[in-house]
Every structure is written in structure tokens, then in C-alpha cells.
Subunit: 320 residues, 2 copies
Amino acid sequence: MKAIIVTDDKKLVWLESKKPEILDNEVLIKVTATAVNRADVVQKNGLYPPPPGASDILGLECSGVIEAIGGNVKKRKVGERVCALLTGGGYAEYASCPEEQAIPIPRGISLIEAASLPEVYATCWLNLFYEANMKGGDTVLLHAGASGIGTSAIQLCKLFECKTFVTAGTLGKISYCIELGADGGSLRQEKPFEDIKKWAPKGVDIILDPVGGEYFEDNLSVLTMEGRLILIGLMGGSKSQINLGLVLMKRQRIIGSTIRARNSTIKGKVMNDLHEKVWPHFESKKIIPIIHKMMDIKDANQAHSIMENNQNIGKIVLEV
Amino acid sequence: MKAIIVTDDKKLVWLESKKPEILDNEVLIKVTATAVNRADVVQKNGLYPPPPGASDILGLECSGVIEAIGGNVKKRKVGERVCALLTGGGYAEYASCPEEQAIPIPRGISLIEAASLPEVYATCWLNLFYEANMKGGDTVLLHAGASGIGTSAIQLCKLFECKTFVTAGTLGKISYCIELGADGGSLRQEKPFEDIKKWAPKGVDIILDPVGGEYFEDNLSVLTMEGRLILIGLMGGSKSQINLGLVLMKRQRIIGSTIRARNSTIKGKVMNDLHEKVWPHFESKKIIPIIHKMMDIKDANQAHSIMENNQNIGKIVLEV
């Protein structure tokens, strides 16, 4: 099969590669499309090695048709149109994963569009519901609100009756987020935390944060009593000071959370929740995939460049 | 009634004070004994104001006999021998609290001894089980292992089949902890974190930490994947650096937790758990109250001085 290979000078080239072999609990997917995640860019640059056992090909999600199943696979069958959360290997003609991580695509969504859903929705579901224990009425601060994760989180929060405030890098992105359902937004270049304090004078209940160090102290300062800061990335560095007095007296929680290195049981639980509780809302159009651009997998360099320059709103899909 | 009053020069004197009035959901307890907590010392020094609505008399726990009940009280009755978790007011002849916070004393334990139990067991139960989600087989690091909280946590962890490592300030305290059931210990003046890394090469699952700033970075460095650092005090200051890279990649949780300012629903849930799941083990002597000294309430200054000088192993009880 063909797959994207990272050259020594960090270029992505479409070359012959070894087709994955499946284990008894795995499915083999003939990939229709994959999508770009920031983790792919970090991995390309050598800063995010794949977890043990994972494919070293980039790509944390895909959509496609099941071509083969392992001997113990029970829920999935050959010929099914699925989208899947991968530990790696999506930028290829074929990808494999444990059966729990592949679920049917939502009705009313094309097979190509479905490639944009697994990683961002699984990340949001895991972090908002499992880690942050989100309940209707909570206020949620989303940094990088126009990202794939941001645009999914805005919609999920609205669906489950929570209010959101976003930060983003351009006024156009903020307008887009508000149109999508965000209740407020502020430019990250100005004083977003001043605006957040005005928007939520008692503090926000949950922060989903891909920034890290640069925002850390400000994040804790706008978090309410028993608020939860879910750290999902380090775009703004990893070092900070911390005032433990605030953490203690406000009973705050700081939770580091990545999805990629977790086991397939928890990933399967999240995907099952998405299938049951989120996918039906795509059919009714209450939520929609937010796709910045669909590109050919052979243009992966250009796709990465769009993300590296923060030019995208929502996901960049790569057709195989 | 008489109660301990804090003078302007931080002395504790036994003086006439106003007897508490009870609300419909409260019980009035004729106090037999109370016990000293570090929070009392901090409050005496003006650094821990009572939460809104709380008595301004010191004392976060007591034992005694119920003398009156409010009109809506359902579970408690006049004449019952109880121990109670208080938001304040224990250093007095009478104390009041919502009925959920007063539970019968364990069988086989004297009414005076029972004053040593509510605060430390409620704190340990809340933090180990609710906050840290402790499961049998977990490894738990307890700083200040010979404190009231430490000696209760050692016993609770052993009871629920978890292993503990303690730090403490003297070899005598460490020996005591190990006799009580701790699986290892190290002097805080030496290099305890080196010993902890040897004891738990993969890291510890849970840290119950009253120290804060001084230990913070070392604590995170010995915490395993998905480990939980429960911050319950700031004896070692409130400021630290934090490496968010570690927090993210190890999916660690940092949780600030105090019990005093929480509502009576959660306190009642904890007390009910203690009554059902922990008190029976006092009867069978699987766990025991660890009481450093029983003193007269009029000697409260001396009692505080023992705690301020870290001379106690376990609780200091004050008879009223």
C-alpha cells in the first residue's frame, strides 16, 4: 500500500509502505479519508513519538470501509462504513485498530466528512464528560475556539446546555465561533482573561486548554470553586508558576489528559458514547462537521502548513 | 456556657460565651471532648477565617451527648452519644451542627476517645475515596505520616489493601507509622523522594499532601501515570514551579481539597460512609484511635504548643 512517510527534512511524501497486519481483536480499514491533528505536526517534528505498539505512520483518525476483521471481532463486519480513532497510521491506504475504536459513521454525513469526527469528538467527550464531569448549566472556557477541538466543543457544550467562551487569534474566528453557538469570545492578543472575568464574574467551571504554560496562572485565576482545568496541549510552553493557595482554597482540579496513549477499553467506551449519544444529532443537523478544507493526501505538506500557520477553522480532511 | 476565646495576643482562655442556637436541621451537643487540628492553630493566628455562617469558636470536631434537636431532625435523637464533624465551635461546652454531621460513636470506643475521630477520618475518607478514587492495590504516599491524618490514613489504606509510604520528622515517628501498618518511611530531613523512588519504582498512585509548595515538584516527579496529588495543606508554602509537560504526558491530577467549607450534604455522605464502612472496624480492633495525649480543655494553649512543635503522634484530645 501507499502511505505518507516523513523524510529527514520533515517533508511528507506518498510512498510505498507495508500494509498493516491485524490482530484477533482488530479491523482493517480501507481508508477513504484521514484528517490533520496538531499532534501529527508535533510528531512530524520528532517531538511526539508514537506510543509503544503504535504505527509510526502519522494519522490519528480515518474513515473508510472495513476490508477484513480479526478472529475475535464481534461488533464490526466486513463492508461496514466506519470512522475510527487510531493510535497512528491514518495517513495511508489501509489502517488497523481494535474493533471498539471503529464505529459506524453518522447518518447524513458523507464517508469523507466522517474522517473529521473521531479525534476531536472523542477528545471533547472524554475531557468534558469523563474528566471534567460536565453538567448542564456549566460554563466552559475554550482556548483555540476555532480549532477542530474548539468547534466540536462549542457544539457539544451547546447540545448539553452549557455556556462557552472562546479565545482565538482573529476576529473572523471569534465571529465564526459565536455563530456556531459560543456565548462569548475574545482575541488572544488582547486581554482575554479580563473579558472572561466580566463574562463569568464567579469564574468558569471548566477550561479545556491546549495552551499550557503561557495561560496557566490566568486559567487558575478565572476558575471557580471546584473548577476543572483540563490540560490537553502545550502550545504555549510547559513551564509556569503555581499558587497552591488558590488551588487549595478553591478546591480546584488540574488534570493532564491525552487520549492517544490510553487503552482501547476507555477509547472504546468513548466511541460507543459518541455513537449512541452524539451521532444522532448529526442526523438531525443539531451539530455539523466543521471542515476547513478537503485536500488530497498527496498535499499533506500544504495541509500541515495551514495548521502550522493557524489558518484553519475546524478540520482539514485528507482524501486518500 | 463556657468556651475557648482567642485573646488579642493569641492565647486561648476558657470564658463565658453564648450557647449556640440550633436550626431546624441541627442538633445541639453537650460536648464531652474535642480535639486539636492544625487548622485550629492557623485560625488562632488569624490566617484561616471561619467560613460564612460558622461559629467563630475554634474546634472542628467533638464528641458528646445530644441535648436538643431541631424540628426537622430525623435520624438523631436526644440522649444519643455521638461524634460530630463541625465547621467550628468544638472548643466549648455546647456545639451545634446539621444532623448529618453527627453520627453514633463506634462500639468499643469511649466517648472521650471518639472526639479524635471525625475530622481525620472524614478528611481521609473524602480525599482517598472520593477525590483520589482509591482502589485496593494502590500505592499511597503520606506526608506527615505521624499526624492525626497520617495515622488514620495508614490504617484506612491497610484496611482497604493499599500500600503506604510515609515521611515524618523523627525516626521514632517513622517506626511508629511502620508498626501501625505503613510499608515504608523516610525522614523528611534526608532525601525522602529518593527513597520513595526506590520503594515505588513505577511511581505512587496517590499522594495525600499537607505540605504544598516545598514538596510540589518532587511530588509530581514520583507520581505514576494517572496518579493523583491531593493537596490538603500548605505547611511548606504555597508557591512552586510546575512542569506541565509531566502533568500532560502522565495524565496526572492535582486536586485542592479542604473539607471545612463544603456543604453538609457531602459532609453527611462522608460521615454516613464512616459509620457504615469504617466504624465496625474499630469494634473489631482492626483500626484504633491514635491519641497522643488527653488534656483538659483549659490546657488548650499547651495542647496547641505540642502541635506547633510537631511533638504529637496522632491526635491531641481536649476534655471539656
